[in-house]
Symmetry: C2
Subunit: 329 residues, 2 copies
């Protein structure tokens, strides 16, 4: 453990200090190729003595590997980068990448703009891309050269493996819970129309409603609490007989509950409310939110790992969604 010199120690320094050539030192450090036990030990000792840390940038340069993993978030505006969900993804990815000496960058992908993806593909420092909130259009625009080092959290395509929560099963479970507890006039607040993966729960909802002979009532939202507020007001106006609202995100559900409360509607007495995601605070509010928990961190870690390892991933990897029945429904 040496006081870090002003200039970081290089492999050359280690080699000299160990009395071997740079190649030998490289083989030992990288753990690749042959080296005598003696050489192995001397190099290890020298590296330790000098506080040597391999430079991933130099390594990437010669290997053509890249040094950053880009989390690319599609959306109508750059403000999508402020989303807590996105931050969770970036945090999980950064954690997975750190040991490999890989950094994470956060980019906004304007909807329907293919040049951004081309730029990423043409950047030799980019080792891979994790797409968030993708559209079919964007998926089609993924350049050939990105294949094998791109993954999507959300919908995928033939060339882009998808890592996502089992939206269909999750939504169905919540809906069945609502049904089992006697709710028959269930409205749904959906995600933004441009986001395909948020349509999955809507499809499940419609199917279930039809099967049960219950009315289909879908209102558009955008994951925010504000959109939940607005949707709840609208729902109350259009369907006074309403007895449940299923929101596609917890934030939205909280907005729904707030609007209901303002309108003098009791939750769950008059109207049950369920969310989706199970954010940390979901269990602390009054009423505590009934929702489905999603392993966002694990999903992001899996996507990042697939990209890092260039491991040919299954076309679709689904993560389980688990109903958390609390007070609101």
């Amino acid at each position: 453990m040496t006081a870090a010199a002003h200039r970081p120690a290089t492999l050359e320094d280690v080699a000299r200090s160990a009395g071997v050539s740079r190649s030998t030192a490289s083989r030992v450090i990288a753990g690749t190729g042959f080296a005598s036990p003696a050489a192995r030990e001397r190099v290890a000792a020298a590296a330790d003595r000098l506080g040597y840390v391999p430079n991933p940038a130099a390594r990437a340069l010669v290997r053509g590997g890249g040094v950053r993993l880009v989390v690319a978030v599609a959306g109508p505006g750059a403000s999508v980068l402020d989303d807590p969900y996105v931050h969770r993804v970036v945090g999980a990815a950064a954690r997975v990448c750190a040991p490999a000496g890989i950094g994470v960058a956060l980019h906004w992908l304007p909807l329907g703009e293919r040049s951004s993806l081309d730029r990423l593909a043409g950047d030799g420092s980019v080792c891979g891309v994790v797409l968030v909130n993708t559209t079919e259009e964007l998926l089609e625009a993924v350049p050939r050269s990105l294949r094998g080092r791109v993954a999507s959290i959300g919908i995928g395509s033939a060339t882009v493996p998808s890592f996502d929560v089992d939206n269909d099963a999750g939504a169905s479970e919540v809906l069945r819970h609502l049904y089992a507890t006697g709710r028959r006039r269930i409205a749904m607040v959906s995600g933004p129309r441009w986001l395909p993966c948020s349509q999955r729960p809507v499809v499940a909802y419609r199917r279930l409603m039809r099967q049960a002979g219950m009315p289909e009532r879908v209102l558009p939202g955008d994951f925010t609490a504000a959109s939940g507020r607005a949707a709840a007001g609208e729902a109350l106006r259009r369907w006074p007989d309403l007895d449940a609202i299923y929101a596609i995100s917890d934030e939205t559900a909280f907005g729904v509950i707030a609007a209901l409360r303002d309108g003098g509607v009791r939750v769950p007495g008059d109207v049950a409310v369920a969310g989706f995601d199970d954010i940390p605070l979901a269990g602390m509010t009054a009423p505590a939110l009934t929702t489905a928990s999603h392993p966002v961190g694990r999903i992001a870690a899996a996507a990042a790992t697939a990209v890092l390892d260039r491991r040919p991933a299954a076309p679709v990897t689904l993560f389980p969604s688990a109903l958390v029945a609390r007070d609101s429904a």
Copy 2:
């Protein structure tokens, strides 16, 4: 706009295509040094045609600049990396770094372990470090070679500039609000004892209580809702005459409110509760949380920018905390 070739275009490709030397191309692309308008234009055209993107890794290698900014979070366990606050910091940093071709890595810094910092300093690919939740001990262990490219979100030192919210003013404002609305027996739920910057509000609290001749009642917490629950129970037991609880984080405040509710104590009727941070949901709950809003994203962005630009920052940069009076207090 060329379909990204399998191998990203290099400066050499651009130079050849423009009919100039690599150096000239470099000067034009990097915007440094001289170049005739003619050359300038031809290089620009070639770069555009080839979809050329400079490779930050190669650039960093020759300039000795590094390619990753490390967000190093101190704490007793690696689980500190799961914190939403940390994710916000990483997200903001990643956003600031992306245009420069710099990635962000997330590291856990075990309390009192100096070798981690030495490793970071000895890694040539690290362009800088943003410390989160630092201690004096860790600050002292910052290697010389990191000076000028390290910043702290929290307390700082002579060599490490600090970027933080004005904890003192923020806490005072909340406390004064509590006082102004008639509260006289105010308990405080503090942050973890090992975290110096979380002691600041406690100091402010003690000073104010003393000045007003009010009792000092501090209970330890750790920012989590669970610790808020526990602290509230304890507070009720020890101080039955309590009329307000000030929690050092919104999560904790929500835990406090939940415990109070469970105990049949009305908020704010019997006991007022105030938080700290103003998380997005603070305004949606019942009662809506009175708290102080903190520009976490801006703070993180400022710290990251200071490190990136190697700009000699002021020893301490304080960001304003703004009281948001809602229903809970």
